[in-house]
């Protein structure tokens, strides 16, 4: 085996080990209304008494939840603003293009702010061979509570 091939195999092994560093985050909606859960940059719609799972990277993971109706209102507002600006794409001015790109960039921040203002969140440190469960309760008056429970590594 040539030194170059050996180096490549070593890098590939490291990549495989590192790539395997993802664990499940499960969201249980025990609230009486549909919720949207934000895990990293993914969102999940979870119906009442429903359950969804997603993959998260190892380390600190924050899950934010909002009432689905609030989420839909915020996203629809952002969408309508973009569609109104777009019109005929061939005709839009450089200023309008800048505005659109800024809007796309700002969207994630807007949704994070929505979660802070009207949602709930919790965090936990996900370890290898572990995971995290998020239990969401409330909903009668629109107030949600999220509790994160971290699962220890199965090898421990």
């Amino acid at each position: 085996m040539t030194p170059l091939k050996r180096t490549f195999l070593l890098v590939a092994a490291v990549v495989l080990v590192v790539a395997a560093c993802d664990e499940h985050v499960e969201i249980e909606n025990k609230a009486t209304i549909p919720i949207r859960a934000m895990v990293d940059h993914d969102t999940l719609l979870v119906e009442p008494n429903g359950y969804r799972a997603t993959i998260a990277s190892l380390g600190s993971v924050t899950v934010a939840v909002v009432v689905d109706a609030d989420w839909v209102a915020e996203v629809t507002k952002a969408r309508n603003a973009m569609v109104a600006k777009l019109g005929d794409p061939g005709e839009i001015t450089p200023t309008e293009i800048k505005d659109l790109v800024r809007q796309i960039k700002a969207l994630q921040e807007q949704l994070d702010q929505l979660a802070k203002a009207r949602g709930a969140s919790c965090s936990g440190t996900v370890v290898q061979d572990g995971g995290m469960t998020v239990e969401v309760t409330g909903g009668a008056n629109g107030n949600l509570t999220a509790v994160c429970t971290v699962h220890a590594s199965k090898s421990n």
């Binding site: 790539a19 990277s57 973009m82 440190t125």
Partner: protein, 207 residues
């Protein structure tokens, strides 16, 4: 030839110069007319030097490993950051489905920029392929594992919404916003020069 041999030496006139700059005290007054001898430095062995260097290196490697482990555990450094630093990290494609219906996204790798030095000519690496369903008004991120060309096919209820074959570099962050009509694409938050460049399917990112 004339005169005695060897010739009588006579110093050149005017040498050494008899006039010194003001304040010059003459040569140092010691037993040695050429000044004091330089201090003798104790000899150091090369082995000790190497040993100390190795110890420092070992301590540094241990400290970096421990620090790196805790940084990764706490999310300060992600494995993808490390891989992107050496140019073999994944790229992220974020898809914001702002349509009122569910869409299906197929991602197929049609070419790779990574040179597999260990591969035999007969071996063809398996191309990356994934399919994901994204609900109405949902946001999803997909990691594409390596630099290369990828074809994205987006359909809704079996009908084509958009297709884009794009070159992807390690660490790229591509954002696709699916709207009722038309859909948008940006790479690394770059601002395009024309409106058509923003449109999925018309943008030069899709060629």
């Amino acid at each position: 030839m004339s005169g005695p041999y060897p010739p009588q030496y006579s110093p050149p006139t005017g040498y050494p110069p008899q006039q010194y700059p003001p304040g010059y005290q003459g040569p140092p007054q010691s037993g040695n007319p050429w000044g004091a001898p330089p201090p003798v430095k104790p000899k150091r062995g090369c082995f000790g030097c190497l040993l100390r260097g190795c110890l420092v290196l070992v301590v540094l490697v241990i400290a970096m490993s421990v620090g790196g482990y805790f940084a990764i555990q706490n999310g300060l450094i992600t494995p993808n950051m490390v891989l992107n630093l050496i140019g073999i990290g994944p790229a992220t494609v974020q898809i914001d489905n702002f349509r009122d219906d569910k869409v299906t996204v197929d991602v197929l790798q049609t070419g790779s920029d990574v040179i597999d030095v260990g591969a035999q000519p007969s071996e063809t690496p398996e191309p990356f392929e994934t399919t994901k369903e994204i609900g109405a008004l949902d946001i999803t991120s997909l990691d594409v594992p390596e630099a290369g060309r990828y074809r994205l096919t987006i359909t809704a209820a079996g009908k084509a919404v958009a297709t884009c074959t794009m070159p992807v570099k390690s660490g790229d962050r591509i954002q696709i916003v699916l709207l009722p009509k038309p859909s948008l694409i940006t790479r690394n938050d770059d601002t395009p020069s024309t409106g058509s460049e923003l449109v999925l399917g018309q943008s030069s990112l899709c060629r």
